[in-house]
Amino acid sequence: MSTAETTAESGKETELSPQFHVAHHFDSADTQFDAGRMGIWLFLVTEVLLFGGLFCAFAIFRSWYFDSFVEAHHHLDKVMGGINTVVLISSSLTMALAVRSAQQSKKELTAILLAITLACAFAFLCIKYVEYSHKFHEGLLPGKYFSAEGFHTKHPGVFFAIYFMMTGIHGVHVVIGMCLITWILRRTMRGEFSSRYYAPVEGVGLYWHLVDLIWIYLFPLLYLVG
């Protein structure tokens, strides 16, 4: 790379992300990026910890009340769950592409992709709402609130307790993710991100992918296998 090219490139790039600077305690922009990314990964570990407890509870109660779990999981709608899986995977794709276009300093494309991601998240919650209202209507509720009749096993309420707790906390993560995506969408439209600086887009993207990852496990465990 010649010096002429370097000056031309840096001259062009100072126009990108004008508010961005490397904090004085970081050696370089790369170091700053890596430190931020490592922080996000450590945060994702705590998320694994949070959901890990729930997965452990699922494992225990499934082995104790296997018959109830098998009977109860047939009352979940595989089609709705499957559609939600596709919706969430699509949102993961658009999120990953949004990070990619932010890396390429394509402001408009990033904004559009983030908006699609947001729409997918909203669609996910709408489908979840339809599912939840069906369950409420039929009395398929957690623990002692379980009031549905015609069950042949003793503990379907335990299954629905775990179902609502796991999908509920996952749904809260979707809502938080929507808030974060809205935040970086606004910042994208203000022109804050570019190939020089896109760390918040990448961080929110990593979080959003984790939300997708957890659903990848929740869907077969709750809807398919029971």
Binding site: M1, S10, E13, V22, D27, S28, A29, D30, Q32, F33, D34, R37, M38, W41, L42, L44, V45, V48, L49, G52, F55, C56, A59, I60, S63, W64, K78, G82, T85, V86, I89, S90, S92, L93, M95, A96, L97, R100, Q103, Q104, S195, R196, Y197, Y198, G205, L206, H209, L210, D212, L213, I216, Y217, F219, P220, L221, Y223, L224, V225
Partner: protein, 214 residues
Amino acid sequence: MSAASHAHDDHDDHAHGGHGKDHVPHVLPLAVYLGTFATLLFLTAITVGASYVNFGAWNLILAMVIATVKAATVALIFMHLWFDHKFHSIIIGSSVLFLTIFITFTMFDTENRGRAEAIEGEKPADIRNPFKASERQADMMRNMGPISSATADVARPSPPAPASAAATASAAPVPSATVAPSASVSAAPSGSTSATPAPSASVAPSASASAKKP
């Protein structure tokens, strides 16, 4: 230096751009993202399809294997873990490792609850002296008359006589007695002539039994 050409070199080393230089993003080709998306949709279709077929106990294992492949695909490509510092893989990998330990060891507990209680109901333990015979066993022994403590159930902690003999034999440091099968083979021909204490009899019970014959 375009971003696209950069995508193919120095995957492991992200130390491009020294002091004061700008961060150069690592941009993957669009086809990689679309291919990943297609893979995920395909695996979702497979796992849904497989749920309509009953594989018995394999239902759960199959679903979890497919889910793990999907999760790994998302983590490696969408989350850039494959192209990232290996330390980030170690961070998230260790969380998965410890989650596995957490669930496995909890299942060791919850799957075996109620097994000890039945045995303890039969033979209540004296907490102050757990290896002493319980009152009921002591009564039984008194009723049955004098018996040697070696044959009674009381002596469970100490192993039976032949086993202890084998244990002492194996405790002797014999260099040739490292591999059990060869030790038993060598013990069979030589046991009758030379070695009555059978120094080569190590762990295999058959070896110690054959050695005791002469």
